[in-house]
Subunit: 339 residues, 4 copies
C-alpha cells in the first residue's frame, strides 16, 4: 500500500459506469485514490487521468496492474472484456471489484471461478450493488432475524422508463432480472432451481418485437416461489420493489418517498427517473465497503460463485423465455472456497 | 310492490351472512323491508322474524316467495341449496340477490343459466360484493377511462388470518380466489382462459396437510397475466390488494389506512382482522344498489353468466392445484342475454 | 309512529344540504321516510315532494310539524331560521336533527338551550357530522382508551379549494373552524378557554381583503393546546387532518388514500375536491344514527349545549381575529341536563 | 495543502460528535485526512491519534493550527470553548467547520462575527447539518423553484424519545429548536422577527419541572408564521418533520419510511431512535461538501451570520418561555460580507 494506507486503484473502462467510479473514488470514498485509468481509447484515458492528481493513463489493463502504485483493480469495462482482466488480476493476486455481470455467459464465468479456486483464496467481489442498498440491507436483516419465520415468497417489481435502441429480450434477463436473481439468492440464501417466463400481450409502447412486460417465476432450493414483473418500457419512472412474505408477516421495500406534495388536486411525489438516483448511495456504499475491506486485507460481498450462479440462472431464463415452459437450473456443487 | 314502493324482501338462510343481511335491510338500507325470514330451522326463522315489524317466518323458500308482501328474494342459504331456490324464484319471475357462489359447481350453475335464458330476461344478481367496494369501483373507473392504456397485468394479494377447522385446499380456490376470479373478469372485461397453481413449501402455521400459501396464475382472453397470492393462514390480518399494471401507469388498491399512529418505536396502524371490517360498506352498497335497481324494475350487477364463468374457472383451478400444471378453461359462447 | 316503525321526517329547508338530506332519507337510510318537505318557496317544496311517495309540501314549518305523519324534524334551512323552527319543535316535544350552526350567534343559541332545559329532556341533536366520520370515530376511541396517556396537543389542518363570492373573514371561524371547535371539545372532552388568531401575509390567491390563511390557537380547560391552519383558498383540494399528540404516542387522521397511482413520473392520488366526497359517509352515518336512536326513543349525539358552546367560542374567535390578541372564552356552568 | 490535495484537518474536541467526525474524515469522506486530534485530555487525544496514520495529538488548539500539515479546522469541542478556537483559526486565516452552536450566546457570537468581518472574507461554516439532509435539500429546491408561490407557513415537529439528566427548559430552545430556527431562516430566506411559546400541561413523562412539550411560534420578516412542536420526552422515537404551506400547494418531509411491515395485526415500520440514524447521511454530506469546497478555496454553507442570528433568536425564545408572551427579535443590519 501507499503511504497512509490509501488504496491505489486502477479503474478499467471509462464508460458511464467507469467514469462514475472514477468520480466516486476521487470525491466520495475515503481511503482510496485513482492511481490508474485504463481504456482502449488512450486519449480518453489520458483526458480523465490528467484531471486527477497522481493518476496515470493506460490502454493495457495488465500494464496498469503492474504499476507500483496500483493496489487494487476496479473493472468497469464492457462485459466481454471482463474475463481477461479478471484472469490478469488473479494472476497478480490483486483485489478486484468487478461490475456485474462477472462475465457475459456461464462458460466464461466458470473459467474465472476455476482460476480463483486454483488461487485458493477469494480476491474478487462482484458488483451486485443492491446488497449495499440501505433498504435491501434492512430487509436482509429482518429476514435473517427470523421473526417472520421462513420466507415463503418474494414479489418483485422492476420497472424502467424505456429501453435504448438495440435492447433485446435476452437483455431483459441478463441486464435487468439478473439483479432479482442475485437478490433472491442473497435474501433467501438459497439457489434458484427453475425458471418460468410468462409473456402478456406486449405494451404498445414496447419497441419493435420486444415482448415487454414479462412475468418471471423462480423456484428455489428451499421451496420458495419468487415472481418478478420486468417492465422496461413502463413510461412513468424507475421502480424496484420487493415484498417478502414470511410465515408470520410480510416486509416491503422500494416505496420510500422522502417528499410528499399536495398540489393541483393531487397528493404524492416524484418517481426516480433511473437507477442512478435510486441506487446512487448503494454504489457509494459498495465501493466504500470494498475499499475498507481491501485495506484490512479482507474480501467480502458477492463472490465469483454468486456471479457464476447468476450467469447459469440467466441462461436458464433466456431459454425459458424462448421455450415458454419451465426450465430447470443445473448448478454444480458449490466449491468449498465459497461456502 | 307494497305501499310507498318499499321492497318486501324474503331472506332465505339465516346463518352469519343471512342474519347480517336481515340486519342490513332492517337498519341500514332504505327502501326495503324484511317481509319473510326463511330457514329450515323454523324456530330460528321465527326468532328472527318476531324481532321485526311485519316479517313472517317460513321453512319453505317457495312458500315465502308466494306471499303477497314478498317482492324480491335474497338467497343466503348454504351453496348446495341455491339451485333450488334460484329455480323457484325464476319460476315466479322474482328479482333475486344470490350470495356467492351462484351454485357449488359449474353443472348446476349451467342449469340456472339455462333457466334464466329460457325466461328471456335477467332476474338474478350474484353477490360478488367487491364490485361494490369503493376502492374497486375507483380502480374500475380508472381502467375503463383508458388513461393508462390497456391493462397488462394484475398483481393480487388475498390474505386471511387463519382458517377454520375443515378448510380444504379446494376451498382456497372456491371460497377465496373466486373473488379474484370475478374481479379479474370484471376489471378487465375478459374471460380467463387458463389457470396454473404453484405451491411454495407450506408455512408451518398451515394446519394439517393444507398447502398454504399458493400462487395462482390466470391468463385471459385479451392476453393479460394475473397473479394471486392466496395465503389463508398468514396470521397477521385480512388483506386484499390489487395492483393493475397498464401500458402507461399502475394503480394499487387495498392499502388505505385511515388512522396512523406513532407509538413505542413504531409508526403504522391496525390491519382489519377479517372481511367484515374490510368489505362492510361494500355489502351495504351492494344491497342498496340491488334494492334501488329492483324498485326501478332493473337488474344490474354480476349476472348468472358471471356466476357460471366463475364456477368453470374454479373447477379448472382445483384441477390445476391437483395436477401441478397449466389447465385451460373451456367456456361455451356467452348467451346473447348476457352480452 | 307510523306503521312498521318507519320514522316520518319533516325536512325544513331545501337548499343544497336540505335537498341532499331528502335524498339521503329517501334512498340511503333505512327506517325513515320523508313525510314533509318545507320551504318558504312553495313551488320548490312541491316540486321535491311530488317526486316522493307520500310526502306533502309545506311553506310553514309549524304546519308540517303538526301533520299526523310527521314524527321528527330535520332542520336544514339557513341559520337565521333555525331558532324559530327549533322552538316550534321543542314546543311539540319533537325530535330534531338541526344542521350546524345551531343558531348564528351565542345569544339565540342560549334561548334554545333555555327552552330545551325548560322542557327537561334532550330533544335536539346538532349536525356536527365529523363525530360520525369513521376516522374521527377511531381517533376518539383511541384517545378514550387511554393507551397514549393524556392528550397534550391537537394539530389540525382545514383546507378548501376556494371560497364563493361574499365569503368573509368571520365565516372562516363561523363556518369552517367551527368544525375544529366541536372536534376539539368532543375529542378532548374539555371546554375551550381562550382563542388566539395569527395572520400570515395572505396568499395572493385570497380574494379581496380576505386574510387567508389564518392560524388559530385554542387553549382548553385541561391545559391542552390546539392549533388550526384554516386555508380556504389553498387551490389544490379539500383536506381535513388532525394529529393528536398524547403523552406516549400520536395519532393522525385525514390522510387515508384509497387508490395509489404511478404515472408520468409521479406516484400519488387524487385529493377530494370538497367536503361532500370527504364526509359523505359521515352524513349518511349521522342521519342513520339519528333515525335509529329516535326510533328507539333516544337522543344522542351533539347536544344543544355543544351547539351553544361552539357559538360562544366562535364569537371569541371572531374577536381574536379582529383584535390580534388572545381572547378568553366565558362559558356559564353546564346545565345538569347536559352533563 | 499536502500532496495530492488531501486536506489535513485538525479535529478539536473528541467527545461523541468529535470522535464521530474523526471516523467520518478517516473512513467516509474522500479528499481529507485527520492530521491533528485535539483534546484537553491529552491521553484521550493520543489514544485516538495513535489509531490513525499520520495524525498527531495536541491539547492546545492553537498548537495544532500551527502545524504544517494542518490545512483546516473542525471544531467539535463543548460550546463554551468555541469562541477561543474560532478566533485562533480566524487569526491564522484557516477554514473552519464549527459544530453548532457557533457560541453559547449572542454576545460571544457577535465577537466572532466582528472578527470574521475584520478579516474581510468568510472562513467559517457552522454545523447546521439539516441543510445537508437529502429531504431538506429537496424541500428547499421545491420552495426556491416557486411552483407553489410564496411560502405562507411552516408546521414543524421535533420529537425526542427522552432527555438526559440535567436537561433544562432553556435547552429545549438552545439545543433543539435552534435547528428549526436555522431551517426556518434558510428555507424562507427571511429573518425571524418574533417568538411566542405556549406550554400545554406537561406530559407526566417529563422529568422534574421540565414543561414538556412546548409549542413555539415564529413570525418572520416576510410575514410567514412558523409553528414548532418541541416534545423531548415523547417516548416513542425521534421525529423531525416539516410541512411547508405555499400559496398553491404544500410539501412535507420527515415521513420517509424505507421498510414497511405487516405483522401481528399491524402495518407500519420502525421509527429512528435518535438523530444519528435520521441525520447520519446529512453529517456525511455536510463534511464532504466542506472538504470539497475548502479544497477548491471556497467557503459555503451556513455562515457566522447564521450562527449569530440563531443565537439572537434563541435568546428571544428563552425569554418568551419565561415571560409567556410574544417577544420581538432585534437583529442589527446584516453586514455586507454576509449578503
Amino acid at each position: 500500500m501507499t503511504q497512509q494506507g490509501t488504496l491505489g486503484v486502477a479503474v478499467i473502462g471509462t464508460g458511464r459506469m467507469g467514469a462514475d467510479h472514477v468520480r466516486r473514488i476521487d470525491e466520495v470514498v475515503g481511503g482510496a485514490r485513482v492511481a490508474a485509468v485504463v481504456d482502449i481509447d488512450g486519449d480518453r484515458a489520458k483526458g480523465i487521468a490528467d484531471r486527477l492528481d497522481g493518476a496515470t493513463a493506460y490502454t493495457d489493463p495488465a500494464a496498469a496492474m503492474d504499476a507500483d502504485d496500483v493496489d487494487a483493480v476496479l473493472i468497469a469495462s464492457p462485459g466481454p472484456a471482463h474475463e481477461a482482466a479478471l484472469l490478469e488480476a488473479l494472476d497478480r493476486d490483486l483485489p478486484v471489484l468487478c461490475e456485474k455481470p462477472l462475465t457475459p455467459d456461464a462458460g466464461s464465468a466458470l473459467r474465472v471461478l476455476e482460476a480463483e479456486t486454483r488461487l485458493g483464496h477469494r480476491r474478487v467481489q462482484v458488483g451486485f450493488m443492491r446488497r449495499y442498498d440501505a433498504e435491501y440491507m434492512r430487509l436482509k436483516s429482518l429476514l435473517d432475524a427470523g421473526d417472520f419465520g421462513r420466507t415463503l415468497m418474494l414479489h418483485c417489481r422492476h420497472r424502467n422508463v424505456s429501453t435504448p435502441p438495440g435492447f433485446t429480450e435476452q437483455m431483459m434477463i441478463n441486464d435487468s432480472v439478473v439483479h432479482e436473481i442475485d437478490a433472491t439468492r442473497w435474501l433467501l440464501d438459497q439457489e434458484i432451481t427453475a425458471v418460468t417466463v410468462l409473456k402478456p400481450t406486449p405494451s404498445s409502447a414496447a419497441p419493435g418485437a420486444l415482448s415487454d412486460p414479462q412475468f418471471v417465476l423462480f423456484e428455489t432450493s428451499g421451496g420458495a416461489v419468487v415472481d418478478v414483473e420486468i417492465f422496461v418500457n413502463c413510461g412513468f419512472g424507475y421502480q424496484v420493489r420487493c415484498e417478502a412474505v414470511g410465515e408470520r408477516g410480510t416486509a416491503l421495500i422500494g416505496d420510500a418517498h422522502g417528499l410528499t406534495v399536495n398540489a393541483a388536486g393531487r397528493w404524492g411525489g416524484e418517481i426516480a427517473p433511473d437507477f442512478r438516483q435510486r441506487f446512487e448511495e448503494a454504489y457509494d456504499r459498495e465501493v466504500r465497503h470494498w475499499v475498507d475491506a481491501t485495506r484490512r486485507g479482507l474480501v467480502e460481498g458477492p463472490s465469483v460463485w454468486d456471479g457464476y450462479a447468476a450467469a447459469v440462472v440467466c441462461e436458464a431464463g433466456v431459454r425459458a423465455q424462448a421455450a415458454g415452459t419451465r426450465v430447470a437450473v443445473e448448478l454444480p456443487d458449490r466449491p468449498s472456497l465459497y461456502r
